[in-house]
Symmetry: C2
Subunit: 492 residues, 2 copies
């Protein structure tokens, strides 16, 4: 009689894992426990929080074989990719551990008292928001899921986390959750299954912020739930992204075959199920590049998609159906549910009419080639694109033409790539995995890299407090130094 | 036939200034001009932007006498206060000029390429969002108005600004706008009058963010407009704040008369029309403090309120009407529209039932005294308060009792004050003028202090770009050094 979450085997389409959904009462208990644990977790010394994050990473590595094989059964992403993704997941946990030890994330600002100017002693740092609800993604069962970047950054910030697991990898989620639960103090981490549980978690008074990676429709619905609460909370959603790639005429003429091949490799990586999949390729309209890309697509072989829903959207995509079919490749003949890669064409003169159709993200190994007739035509088209996580330019010359393309693209995307491909996001200090709507719901936020922790922190200023009542990071005589900016006593 | 904005003389209640409302076409022209100026303003060297901000400050000072007298006629805030506010306004402009010269606001992060680890060269900085719409406040006709903190920080960030002037000081707004317009390049600044113009500005496709200081109802309505756009934009609203003050038993017993007197001075400053007015005072229930505060209120004389609407809300406040009247003071007999200060009382046992009534912000010289019976009773009550900009504690001892009060209050307010008062916000590096909803719509944002610029910037990562195509701040060999954090090549 208990409701269950039914996972599917993506290779065969047959039902596989069955995990009970989390009831409303149990979901509320998880949030209550997170609220109860929040103050203690926030005031746990940063070095202790860091040590616990590293123990979570160690625990995931100890159970790596079982986690990877379970994830492969649930996602069909393959062992090498999932082993790599587990490495990224543990790497993220360790990166945030080091980051909070450094104290940069606290952004300590100090204004010394200046009684003559009527200025009190002001000391500002960032503190954790409180319990965070994380919605796991389908396409990264480890790195954007139960112990993924949102969870790691929120725990590092000092926020308890309740994860709403993704329906399509419930067993993987349980294995990973068991590692977190075994390491972290009671209440600091919880996991729930099922759509209703996720909605209840967002509505719970203790929730202070939501992290989400998923579809545009799902994200906007959750954003609305966050807004409708008696006390609205921020929603950090990473939604839909076209990730345009521009091929300049010089590179098309000199090296078009390589660019076409690499584009198709990036577009079909992980069967096209990356947030950063390049979904739109701008090429000169001389006929060369469309032919080269079509040839590369015809040679490509792709596998199954993650869920029945993703497969349905891919096969019957409303937008792409209205565009000219340029080429199709092959679905892996050994996998019943494999889909074939697909390329559509939009000629320069049809761009305006086709914009809505080509702009609708198509998750899976499909892309659109759009031709441009001149530099000005290219700039006009780029300026009309919706926001993306990334935009890439391929060019040999580095003159004013590339400069003007970059100037337009930096208003349309959060990461600008020269002569490279958007897939494969380095989890590093200077990464930015965000962008204008609809790529995300908050263009100032990133869900990858050290700055991902920013989402879970809010500033707090202490005015006139004596040393002994301040957090150690704000004490002048504190031996535990953190980076701090001190205002000169005589302002400029 | 032209619609007009009608300003009122707050002292007499009679209509005064009449300024034509800005039509839809003219408002759209302002936003189009802002969009056209955005790239050039964003790429104007920081030192040049800083110089222009300083010229705006100089221009305001040159016209100070006329601006202050006009503002006094429109707001009745008095010459000394308005001279001080003009100083704060020019001080803000110069502070942001210095801030952008330092380059801290760019938050430059660099990850060097690490080919063996598959890591590309990543360089991250913050760039301006684009045109910003600012809604001026009624209660600071200069410092939170046409050339106020939102405008100064957005211009400094590199964003063009369109200000929707406040209806109650249209002439002051025009004088200040004339200074901005005379100094800044075409399109970088514009001002509009009237509610419909403000709504049209927010709906315009070129708008990328909104700054607002005003009422809860007005702010939530505008936030909804921001959300309903085809491309939603962030809304940074500073709305309603109770600013609780806690008097601990030791200070009540030792120095209650002084605390009562200072509380009433802070509560009646500017006729109680500060966002940081202390609206709720927690005192021990031994009867002493309510009596002392009542005595201070009875001695207080206050003046007129800013607008007929504010006056109406003050006089007929729905929430306070249901609370026990403890004391009233005197409305200045020489000013026809002066209102009297007022103090209401909520006894400990009535707190829960009265929470909704005492929580509704009452703009003007009114406050509520709430009694508590024990430390635990106090903590329980504080935990139930809505979010505020500030919270203050008055105490002689600095032991565990103050510590536990501070622990609760730091979840309820953005600035925590010990033995001081919330009015008088220092515009400095470490200031935080923000807080949990409903104090603001974004607890991570501040509208006062150096960090106010953060609202108008978004990160951008450049991957694989050569030096000559990067902004100077991201070039390794750049002589124009800005603060930057470089990731070690071997990650920890």
């Amino acid at each position: 009689m208990t409701d269950v979450v039914v996972g599917f085997d993506p290779r065969t389409g047959r039902p596989r894992a069955r995990v009970p959904v989390t009831g409303i009462a149990e979901t509320e208990r998880l949030l209550d426990a997170a609220a109860g644990a929040a103050d203690a977790w926030a005031s746990t010394p940063r070095s202790d929080r860091a040590a616990l994050l590293r123990r979570v990473a160690d625990g995931l590595e100890r159970d790596a074989a079982r986690i990877v094989s379970t994830a492969d059964a649930e996602t069909a992403l393959g062992t090498p990719r999932l082993e790599g993704e587990l490495g990224r997941t543990t790497g993220q946990l360790r990166m945030f551990a080091s980051d909070i030890e450094s104290g940069h994330h606290l952004q300590v600002l100090l204004t010394p008292a200046d009684p003559e100017a009527g200025v009190p002693d002001l000391r500002r740092m960032r503190i954790p928001r409180g319990p965070v609800v994380v919605f796991a993604a389908s396409n990264f069962p480890l790195a954007f899921s139960v112990a993924g970047g949102d969870t790691a950054s929120a725990l590092a910030a000092g926020c308890p986390v309740v994860v709403k697991a993704h329906e399509n990898h419930p067993r993987t989620s349980e294995l990973v959750a068991a590692v977190l639960t075994s390491v972290l103090p009671d209440g600091v981490f919880g996991v729930c299954h099922g759509r209703q549980a996720g909605l209840r978690a967002v509505a719970h008074p203790a929730a202070t912020a939501v992290g989400f990676t998923g579809s545009l429709a799902g994200g906007l619905a959750l954003a609305e739930e966050c807004r409708r609460r008696p006390v609205p909370i921020p929603f950090f959603g990473e939604l839909a992204s076209l990730n345009p790639v521009v091929v300049m005429p010089d590179v098309a003429a000199a090296d078009g075959e390589r660019v076409a091949r690499e584009f198709v490799a990036s577009m079909t990586l992980g069967n096209g199920q990356f947030c950063t999949k390049p979904g739109l390729l701008f090429v000169p309209d001389d006929g060369l590049m469309p032919r080269l890309v079509a040839t590369a697509v015809r040679r490509a072989v792709t596998g199954p998609l993650l869920t029945p829903g993703i497969r349905e959207s891919y096969v019957g995509h409303e937008g792409h159906r209205r565009l000219t079919l340029l080429a199709t490749g092959t679905g892996d003949p050994e996998i019943p549910m494999a889909v074939a890669p697909e390329l559509r064409l939009v000629r320069s003169e049809d761009f305006d009419l086709s914009l809505a159709h080509l702009s609708a993200e198509r998750f899976g190994p499909a892309a659109v080639v759009a031709t441009y007739t001149s530099q000005q035509d290219l700039l006009d088209k780029l300026a009309r694109l919706p926001g993306s996580l990334t935009a890439a330019v391929h060019s040999i010359a580095t003159g004013s033409e590339v400069r003007s393309v970059a100037a337009v693209l930096q208003r349309r995307a959060g990461r600008l790539i020269l002569n490279g491909w958007p897939t494969g996001v380095a989890v590093r200090l200077a990464q930015h995995h965000g962008g204008p709507f609809p790529a995300t719901t908050d263009a100032a936020a990133t869900s990858v890299g050290s700055a991902a922790i920013d989402r879970w922190l809010v500033p707090m200023a202490f005015q006139g407090w004596p040393e002994e009542l301040l957090p150690p990071e704000l004490q002048h005589a504190n031996p535990m130094r953190v980076p701090r900016r001190v205002e000169p006593t005589v302002p400029s």
